[in-house]
Symmetry: C2
Subunit: 232 residues, 2 copies
Amino acid sequence: MGSATRTSSLSGRSSARVPAGQGSRFDRRLAKILQHATEVFCDKGYEGASMRDLSRASRMSLAGLYYYFDSKEKLLYLIQKYTFTTILERLRVRLEGVEDPEQRVRIFIQNHLEYFLANQKAVKVLSHEDDVLKNGYGSEIAAIKREYYRICLELVDELKREQGLEFSSRIAVLSLFGMMNWIYTWHNPRVDADAGELAREMGDIFLHGVCRGHGGSGPQAKRASGSKVRVM
Amino acid sequence: MGSATRTSSLSGRSSARVPAGQGSRFDRRLAKILQHATEVFCDKGYEGASMRDLSRASRMSLAGLYYYFDSKEKLLYLIQKYTFTTILERLRVRLEGVEDPEQRVRIFIQNHLEYFLANQKAVKVLSHEDDVLKNGYGSEIAAIKREYYRICLELVDELKREQGLEFSSRIAVLSLFGMMNWIYTWHNPRVDADAGELAREMGDIFLHGVCRGHGGSGPQAKRASGSKVRVM
DNA sequence: ATGTTCCTAGAACGAACGTTCGATAAGCGC
DNA sequence: GCGCTTATCGAACGTTCGTTCTAGGAACAT
């Protein structure tokens, strides 16, 4: 009873954005654990990863882990929330001051892919363990995701309005998300291009399709050699 | 010892294509179990679903299940193998006799989506539990998947050759797979269009992009009203 | 009727699960 | 030195896991 009180008060004490480089010793330690846990969840899946796996990866005892959070589910929640919040934050900053609708869509793609490739494991956990979080935690993450979706929908609608186009925004946006999110299943840094190049290629496909030898119509005109990427 | 022999001989006895409507009593019963198991795996994930969940869903005792297959992993293998093999078979039939490269790509998309939506649960299990199968089973499924990928790559290369285009086939094909496979995370039959309509829209995006008010350039010209699909 | 094969279930196996307990240092104001 | 918080641990809790053992009813051939 005494220890239950202690545990719950401690696990709620960290500041909002957990894995900040600075912060209390507690925050820094929790951030490290989250980092290790992300790797394990990524490799074995949420259900497949045991608390003992996490304890091994963090080099901390099983019981020691529970000093930093109060359940396995909450751990997943912390990982997902931090990851998603960060993507959204960066997107808002980058979108500021850019007016051209096509450019704004490209920024969205660039931001998404850049973060995806830089934090591939975290993002895989985000995508793959999408619906395992229960009522309380789940709905909070779902709300962030809905907001992210809404922004993308708005960008596409701007584009439609400006260019007088007619198509289903919903299908377009969800197709775009599919293209981008699927990346975690195939991207290999030793074979595939970096985020910038990929964002350009996917942007080309999304905006102009493969049938248009993409490159000329948009405001940006720089084009890569094209033979750098090995096709397997 | 005696029963081990019996069990293993029985579970290897079914004919190659398991869930055929006709077949021995054994095959038919196994097919029903696979059907139930697909549903449970889809809802709770492979690791999250217990054999007791499966026994409840099949209305058969825990031990009774093991008469039909010899491990949970083999069960997943059977589901994945049957699902994937079926998609591939249907694709080959539909591709026969069609020459136009753009049309062939559209057939690929149509076949993929049609099967995905008609067998949403099975396909979710296929996509989501992609890398849980261990060495033996895993590599066999991976081989089928590689073959499927190879076919799509060839279709896209045909298109490139015919139209003299220049882009990374690998990125294009994997983006296309992303668009199509992601569907299992969002498709809602009460809101979204059917497979034919979706295949047309995704085909338009992939081939011509959202910026081209898609519809005119291909050999096919039929177009839907466009306002039938609700955008949320 | 009798023997054999097919099919099913109750009960149990050892192992692993997520979580909690009580104990114990280390650091620090007093 | 003492008392309090912080941080960590080994050991165990009760439960559930995938799987197997044993036994026996049903179906059918002889």
